[in-house]
Structure formats: structure tokens, C-alpha cells
Symmetry: C2
Subunit: 330 residues, 2 copies
């Protein structure tokens, strides 16, 4: 029989549909999604720097001119930005409210190697990508138009990726997105009522029970979240309390790279390079403090398809219990 | 340049990313998604009634025994229900809240013909399907476990459908889903502030400007909603004010069938039988009145894929302006 589980932070109810439950092996046949673009046409490959907007950052171990090969990680504005400052749109209210989609939208190419992927790259290359994350996070946080920085990966066609070459996107959003608002409100309420951070409490409880823990290190745990919105969804939670990803120190960054690479590598091996998304949930850059918030990363393999129930209700149906997912992944 | 549009009812902001804008022809190559199940294996085809749970309703023009061929529309509980009453789950609170997923989950098979689809079926067959919707809506509304009845279609594999044979699903949900809550709150607030129904007002304004109107009849309009969450998304709004789909009369039902069939047929012709979802938004069955609410249908062709930005923020990026979508569809 199914159950409804509530996420204690967001208040969202998720249907854990055990009648529809799938075994891990039902998903294992997932094939790598090879996208049609060839290396020759790939705008993210070295030698094709002219196919992208001018870079805003590149890590060049041996120096060299901007927008030429020789880089290890490269960052440039998205050619088709969702957010960009300078719009002529006038804010309006009434029945049809509108405001300019001010902000930033950047692409972070992870490696010059077209076939590289974060789950299989050497650890030091993943560390480098995360250093670039932190740097661009801080720069974009300082943009007065930006209230929230959302760093994401779409990997594989079924995840929404339009290009195969491994990359992240950074969105500098001019408002605090609804799911971040929900988490902020829930975390604040919990802190006011219980006198502690709800994420710290979750970490403690999950470590104690162990049934949803996939991996642990001195500074992080990876769990199947109790009310996971996705089959085999994973959260990487810092064991230390910190509101913003932008504030992590060197050791925390290196250990995070190791944990992230481990989880991505695990899925690569177990599910045959499945399509996936991840995104970093971190406090708004709104000039205020959010001492009750706790940054983390959410990972969702795209093993099922959202249907009309999910789109129409805003509720998710998850066909795999988080406990069985964690047991399989451990 | 892009703009952020707010849905006046839900308060949700949508990014209309004109820089990423696609022309209608970019989507036209969408191929029909043929699912792998053969007619021989199809549990929804006549002669295979034993492959489904026992029917709760079937329209048999020439009578005949239950669970045998001869039906025109057939309804039975979902074999893998997301909601089902009788669970042994004990409600719990604390850090890991849970409650039983009580409720109903039914399948409504639209036609004995495996290849039929609502956009191309004769009008009277679509009317029959909608009569069955209304009947099962009323029956499920009376279930004391059910607080909201959500009727949906997943058409095509990329829409979340797992079987090809045209069918709807009815979910009797034991709580009011978040998106319905948002609409209720927004509609209530608007009614309190402006003294009228926000949906009635939208109908009036859209008819006046005409720029987002796709089709109109005496009782309905089909529009590209101003803050559409999906490229080429469509709402069918009643021009009359009524909170619940369960209360529509015969004429309203027949005219709704005609409008729905027209929109689905239009997409079938223009986009080559694309995958799509639709769902009916209607007032909760919670024993209370919702005089400020106004039932409607939301349609979403699945022309793009939700990515990590949408999953992580709860905000949608729409790459086609509603005005250009409506102009193309008119």
C-alpha cells in the first residue's frame, strides 16, 4: 500500500507508490543518451571558442590568450540566456504582471574533452570545476540584479540537455525561486520552534538510523531523502552548518568534490550513464542573513517521466521507496 | 530580451525567454511516439478485459456482461494505484511525517479501438468520454477519503504514458494538491480585493484583446495563457462561472467536448501527433463551497524537456511567447 510522505522542510507531500514500485533492475537498461552533435560541431570543444560568447573566466594551466584553446575549465555567458540585464521591459501589474528577466546565465564547460563526465573524471579535475563554481557563485552573488544563484547540471538528452559536452549552467535569478522560498520558510519555522537547524537535525537522524544513507565522509552525507520527489533521488548534505555554498573553504570544497564524484560515478556504473540533473540549493544573495538555512546539493536521475498528475497538481509520485534505493546504492 | 511574467492566480513567475525563442516549425518535426506494446498484448483492448482489475463502469450500447467486449468506454481501478484506501500506514509527525495514500485511482479507456485518439475520434465519442468523466468525478467526489478529483491524460511516451491505447486517469486525492491550493488562494484574494472572479476577468480581457485567443465558442475560450508554463500551452476556460467540473450540464458538456476535440485535433495536425498532457483543474471535494473558483482545463504539449533549473527552482522557462503561439495556432 502506498503512503504519503511529507518533506519536513518544504511541507510538500510526495506519493510513495509502493504498488507501482520498481526494482532497481527495471531501470538498469537505461541506455546512455548520445546526443546528435558531433565533436566537429561542438561549440564547447577546444578550437571552437569563436562559436560561444566571449569567455568571462578560463582556467589555463599554461596561460595563453582568452578564447583560444589551452583551457581546462571555461566559463562564458549562455548564447541564449534565460536571464540577462538590460531589458527594455517595463514592470507592470494588474491582470498581466511582468518584469524584466534581469540577471545572469553562464555556461561552465567542465573539460576540453568532449567525452569527459563528472562521474568519471579524475578527482582533481572535479575539484577544479567546483572551484570555478565557487568563484562564479561569488561574482554573480555580488550582481545587484541577482537575488539567488542557481548552479545546475543537465546530463543527457532526457534531462533537458541540448549539448552533449559536459557542462554546468549558472543562473543569476532576479528573485528568490519558489522552492528556495519554501525551504527558507520551513527551515525558519523549524528553527523558531525547535531551536535548531532542520537540516542539521536530518543529518543527525539519518546517520543514527542509517537506512537511507548511501555514503558518508567526515564533512558530508549522501542520502536518499525521506520524501524523495524522484526515484533514486540523492541529497548531499554538509555535516557542518553553513547557509551558503559560496562560503565553503578549501577542505570542504575538496571533500565535496570527492563525494559528488563518488555519487555520479556510482550512478554511471549502476545505471549505465543515465540522464540526470543536479542543482545546488543555497541561501539567497539578498543582502540578508539566513542563519537557519543549510546549503546542499540535490541529484535526480531521470529514470521516469513526469506526467500530467505531477504537472497539474505539483505533487510527485515516486515509484521507488527511498529505503530500497539507498540499500541498492550502498 | 526576456521577461518574467506572473500568473495572476497562482502568483508563479515564468521566464518567457525570447532569446531562446523557437519558431513553431522547430517543433513540427516531432514524431508520433509509438509505444512498444502491441495490440495483442494491450490490456486495454477488447477481449483482454481479464488483464485489468474488474470494471467499475462500462458503456455498452448493446448491453452484455461486465468485463467482456462490447463496451465503448470502460473504467476500472488502476492496476498499480498511486492512491488506494485501506492502507495499514499509521499517520506520524515529527521529522518524517507520513499518512496513508488513501483515495482512488481509475483508468478510463476512451474507445475499444487501439489506434483511436481524442483529437481524431468522432465528436459523439468524445462527448461520451466526457460524460463518463463527469459521472466518475461525482462518484469519487462522494468518497469520504477524497478531497480533490484530478482527471488527466498522458498521451505519448514523452508525456509519461506507459500504454499507447488512448485512456485517461482519474485520481481521487486525499488532500488538496499544492497547485490547486495556490489557485484557490489567488482566486479568493482577487475576489476579496476586486469583487469578482479572476478567471471571469481573464476571459473578458482575453476576448477583448484577442492576441492570445486560439478559439472561441459560445461557452468556452481556448487561449495561450499569459504566463504559460509550457511552450504552446493552452487553457480551455468556461465563459460561464462554475466552480466544479462535476456540475456542468448537458449543453456545457457537449460544447466542451467540441472545444477539447478541436484543440487536440489542431495539435495533431500541426505538430504531427505530439506527446501531450492535459488535466482538469476544479474545486476541491471538501464539503465546502468555493464560489470564487472557476473550473478549467490545462493542456501542455511536451515539446521541450524540464531540466534542472525547473526541477530545482520550481520556476518554468518557456521558449515561445504565448502571443506567437496563439497566432500560429489560430
Amino acid at each position: 500500500m502506498g503512503e504519503l510522505r511529507q518533506d519536513i522542510v518544504t511541507g510538500q507531500w510526495v506519493v510513495i507508490a509502493t504498488e507501482r514500485a520498481k526494482r532497481p533492475s527495471d531501470f538498469e537498461r537505461t541506455r546512455p543518451a548520445r546526443l546528435p552533435n558531433e565533436v566537429d560541431d561542438c561549440p564547447f570543444c577546444p578550437g571552437h571558442e569563436h562559436m560561444t560568447p566571449l569567455e568571462v573566466l578560463a582556467v589555463r594551466p599554461e596561460d595563453g590568450a582568452p578564447n583560444t584553446p589551452g583551457w581546462q575549465v571555461r566559463v562564458f555567458p549562455n548564447k541564449f540566456p534565460a536571464f540577462e540585464t538590460g531589458s527594455a521591459v517595463d514592470p507592470a501589474g494588474g491582470l498581466f504582471p511582468v518584469r524584466p528577466a534581469d540577471g545572469q546565465h553562464e555556461v561552465i564547460v567542465h573539460s576540453p574533452d568532449h567525452a569527459a563526465s563528472l562521474g568519471t573524471m579524475p578527482a582533481e579535475e572535479v575539484e577544479l570545476v567546483l572551484r570555478v563554481y565557487r568563484h562564479r557563485y561569488r561574482v554573480n552573488c555580488d550582481d545587484p540584479h541577482v537575488r539567488h544563484v542557481h548552479i545546475i547540471v543537465n546530463h543527457g538528452r532526457e534531462s533537458g540537455a541540448s549539448l552533449e559536452h559536459s557542462h554546468s549552467q549558472l543562473f543569476g535569478v532576479p528573485l528568490v525561486p519558489p522552492l528556495i522560498e519554501l525551504e527558507l520558510e520551513g527551515a525558519k519555522l523549524y528553527a523558531e520552534q525547535e531551536g535548531e537547524c532542520v537540516f542539521c537535525r536530518i543529518v543527525e537522524e539519518e546517520l543514527e538510523s542509517g537506512e537511507r544513507v548511501i555514503a558518508r565522509s567526515s564533512a558530508y552525507i549522501a542520502i536518499s531523502p525521506y520524501a524523495s520527489r524522484f526515484p533514486f533521488g540523492v541529497w548531499i548534505l554538509p555535516r557542518y552548518h553553513l547557509e551558503s555554498f559560496g562560503e565553503i573553504d578549501e577542505d570542504q570544497l575538496d571533500e565535496f568534490a570527492e563525494m559528488l564524484r563518488g555519487i555520479l560515478g556510482l550512478f554511471h556504473d549502476r545505471f549505465g550513464d543515465p540522464p540526470y540533473n543536479y542543482y545546488i540549493h543555497t541561501a539567497p544573495c539578498d543582502g540578508r542573513e539566513h542563519p537557519y538555512y543549510h546549503w546542499h546539493l540535490e541529484f535526480a536521475p531521470r529514470l521516469t517521466t513526469l506526467g500530467a498528475f505531477e504537472l497539474g497538481t505539483g505533487m510527485m509520485i515516486n515509484v521507488t521507496t527511498p529505503e530500497s534505493a539507498a540499500a541498492y546504492l550502498r
